[in-house]
């Protein structure tokens, strides 16, 4: 077995086919000529962490248990990030793997082959019990155990909504001091943030010197520093290490420096960052330092105006380049097994530029085409049979309107509020029949399941039908439907975790997506608003709106529709038990009985 997989997060078939039609992506187009291209049916909901997990396991969320970016505890209605679950133990709170369903990486390892997954989502924390080499992707936290935000240093008071802020205080001519807020520790008086003193010397309007943790970091205006390693003293004998990059964004008038979220240092992680430790260390030492955050392309910094479009794009390029170097390093010694690498810059770039700067987006499709061309060239030296797959977890679409689904439920008498805040804490559960948490999920307030459930079993069917019909009738002011499709969980999911899934899976029409507020269970004052954010496009819609792609060095034309369930087979030549490939007698639909009678009549049955 020898398989190479390139995962191109959010690579969209419509953009690809349009550009391929103009012969702009020659290396991808070769696959079309050989029958090795198809659109890919992706799972519902088409969210990154859900979809890549479905691809790795061949299972829908009912088979692996990740249904949405945000889940809720039915007993308390509290929300949590599904890919960063924690469990209390004698050692305190620990991250636990977000799912345990078998992946094709694990299956390959069980068959005795080396397997490597680079930047695959939902693979943090590493599982030392499984002999798969991993550098985890989406879901890897910062050193605080959170999804991570950067820090803006400024001589002005310009605090942002999410980004941390540190005031640069004058300490002499062209010298400023501040404190970089680091990890939190628990003390008797509660959680305390450990800071690192920072001194900034502005050399001229285009350069500065930053001193932090006994290091000097030379900054050129608008250019990212190299990756800087930092050490926070968390006690007499305990240090917490982090990595980041700095960038000076203004050195005349208002002085501004920005640092990326503080990220896990792979050589000194207190959590199981990667598997194995020696694997991540080898890459760090032999290829070079790499960012570790699950979402290292700092879209929050860009949205909040801490960095510019060009600085964001430069960061994406740096991340992309280092990942390519790591992939090529591993390809040099790759003899057998599975080697998979996900490149997720395109996803972040499309979120930020798909609406307003298609030139930037198309530039990245060309960049990925070049990557594929380079990889193809390397593969020419492989003289044994091999499998080669390039695939995406979903496509992309417009996100013109933010949908506040809980407000819609409130307006339609499915949810009731008490006076107070605008989140689930203010819901009157004694009068609430349904609520939304996550980007594509509605839960009924079910008696016996939810902490204060009121919906009885005999009401269930009618209630689900009522919500479904009303949502499908929902039109925006221009008359366009907001929802493309809405399905019951048993219509979408199969497998042991299905019962934990949302009762209704909401598939938004193109142009609509649940608001971030909805994701967290909030209930703003209106049910829909135009999206004017920098984040102007998305994929958390109906799965039919955003299909993915698959390219392979084999003819895919006999496959009919190819879905995420097929990927383990295409990757390792074997279906996993949960892949649930239906035999033809079940897939053919009606008329099977007539056929059987005909065959009996002919003496063949």
């Amino acid at each position: 077995m020898k398989t190479l997989i390139l995962g191109l997060d959010s690579f969209d078939p419509a953009v690809f086919e349009e550009m391929a039609g103009r012969n702009q992506l020659p290396n991808f187009e070769k696959f079309i000529q050989q029958g090795g291209y198809s659109r890919l049916e992706v799972c519902s909901p088409p969210q990154t962490e859900v979809s890549w997990t479905s691809i790795a396991t061949g299972a829908d969320p009912g088979g692996h248990g990740i249904f949405d970016f945000v889940h809720r505890d039915p007993a308390t209605y509290t929300t949590y990030v599904s890919i960063l679950p924690m469990r209390k133990s004698a050692l305190g709170e620990q991250f636990v793997p977000p799912y345990t369903a078998k992946t094709f990486f694990e299956e390959a390892a069980d068959l005795g082959y080396p397997a490597t997954a680079l930047w695959w989502p939902a693979m943090f924390p590493a599982r030392p019990d499984i002999p798969v080499n991993t550098l985890p992707g989406l879901g890897t936290p910062d050193i605080r155990g959170q999804l991570g935000v950067g820090t803006l240093f400024s001589t002005e008071d310009e605090a942002r909504k999410k980004t941390r802020f540190a005031k640069l205080v004058s300490a002499g001519k062209d010298r400023f001091i501040a404190s970089l807020p680091g990890p939190q520790t628990q003390s008797r008086s509660g959680p305390q943030t450990i800071g690192l003193p920072v001194t900034l010397d502005v050399v001229d309007e285009k350069s500065a010197r930053l001193f932090v943790d006994k290091q000097q970091v030379d900054l050129r205006l608008g250019e990212w520093s190299e990756i800087v390693e930092l050490r926070f003293k968390a006690g007499m004998l305990f240090n917490i290490y982090a990595i980041t990059r700095f960038i000076a964004t203004s050195l005349r008038g208002v002085v501004r420096v920005y640092s990326l979220p503080l990220q896990i240092h792979p050589l000194h992680s207190t959590w199981h960052y990667a598997s194995s430790n020696s694997f991540s260390k080898k890459l760090w030492k032999e290829v070079g330092p790499y960012l570790t955050l699950g979402w290292p392309q700092d879209t929050t910094g860009l949205e909040e105006g801490c960095i510019s479009d060009d600085q964001f794009l430069d960061l994406c390029q740096k991340i992309f380049d280092r990942r390519i170097q790591i992939l090529y390093f591993l390809m040099n010694d790759f003899r057998e097994g599975v080697l998979a690498s996900i490149f997720d810059d395109l996803d972040r770039i499309q979120h930020m530029f798909f609406r307003d700067r298609m030139d930037v987006v198309q530039g990245w499709y060309k960049l990925l085409d070049q990557l594929v061309g380079q990889v193809n060239k390397k593969l020419e030296a492989w003289n044994s049979k091999y499998r080669y797959l390039i695939l995406s977890d979903h496509g992309f679409s417009d996100f013109r309107n933010k949908v506040h689904l809980n407000r819609w439920l409130l307006d339609n008498d499915f949810l009731s509020m008490q006076n107070g805040s605008d989140d689930l804490g203010a819901v009157d559960w004694s009068k609430t029949k349904a609520y939304a948490v996550g980007l594509n999920s509605i839960y009924l307030n079910l008696s016996g399941r939810e902490g204060q459930g009121i919906v009885q079993a005999d009401e269930l069917e009618g209630l689900l039908t009522s919500i479904k019909e009303k949502l499908l009738d929902w039109k925006d002011p221009s008359g366009s439907p907001v929802i493309q499709r809405i399905r019951l969980k048993h219509e979408v999911y199969s497998g042991p975790y299905t019962r934990f899934g949302p009762d209704l899976v909401v598939g938004y029409a193109s142009g609509y997506r649940a608001s971030a507020d909805t994701g967290l269970g909030k209930i703003p004052a209106i049910s829909m608003e135009p999206n004017t954010d920098h984040w102007g496009a998305d994929h958390c819609m109906d799965s039919d709106v955003v299909p993915g792609v698959i390219f392979a060095n084999r003819d895919l034309r006999d496959f009919g529709t190819i879905s995420f369930r097929d990927i383990p087979f295409l990757a390792i030549g074997k279906h996993l038990s949960q892949s649930n490939i239906k035999p033809p007698s079940q897939a053919a639909g009606e008329g099977q009985k007539d056929l059987e009678e005909r065959l009996k009549g002919l003496g063949y049955l």
Partner: protein, 205 residues
């Protein structure tokens, strides 16, 4: 690139693959069995159905094939390296633990239906559904079957056009020798496809 991939990923075999001749009933499966047998390949068949006016060369069938769905699969242990006829509707009951090379016969559905109608008449069976309906059902059966076949890690499939085989048998018989990876006698294989037989059937449509 496709060449590099083809056939890769199948289980390492301790036994030779089982050659399966498949297709819709009356698609030329019996003729294919006869071609392989003439070429020198052992076939697994019994005498449950002997030659008649529908199949003058014989049926080459094994009654046990019909019992696979009931779990009767022990006989497959002796089928390694031999040819067995399994109609398309029964392929899904082939057990996973063997590797199969499937020769799948394809023929114009309308021709198949004419031939089936005649065979039903010979067997004094009444026609319970009309040709339009049954054609649609066969089409949807094939539409579901082919994607399933390509997803089977233990099956390699060669599609053979009945009509092309009758019209120009040599290249296809050579391809059969290559596919079965068996030194079959090409001259004897070529003696089987009967243009006359086909013409007779076509002319009666």
């Amino acid at each position: 690139m496709d060449k590099l991939f083809s056939g890769f990923g199948k289980k390492p075999l301790s036994q030779s693959p089982i050659i399966i001749v498949s297709g819709l009933p009356r698609s030329g499966t019996s003729m294919m069995m006869k071609i392989l047998a003439e070429g020198g390949l052992s076939v697994v068949a019994d005498q449950s159905r002997t030659a008649d006016e529908d199949n003058p060369n014989g049926y080459f069938e094994l009654e046990l094939v019909k019992q696979m769905s009931a779990g009767n699969i022990e006989w497959l242990a002796g089928a390694s390296g031999k040819a067995v006829k399994v109609i398309s509707g029964l392929l899904e009951h082939l057990p996973q633990e063997y590797f199969y090379k499937v020769i799948f016969m394809e023929r114009e559905i309308k021709e198949i239906l004419v031939s089936q109608r005649k065979m039903l008449a010979h067997r004094n069976e009444e026609l319970k559904s009309n040709d339009v309906e049954i054609e649609q059902q066969f089409q949807s059966h094939l539409s579901a079957l082919k994607p399933w076949l390509v997803r089977q890690p233990n099956m390699e499939v060669l599609y053979v056009s009945y009509n092309a085989l009758i019209a120009n048998p040599e290249p296809l018989c050579r391809r059969l020798i290559e596919f079965t990876d068996t030194p079959l006698d090409l001259g004897r294989m070529l003696s089987v496809p009967s243009r006359d037989l086909y013409r007779n059937r076509a002319s009666r449509n």
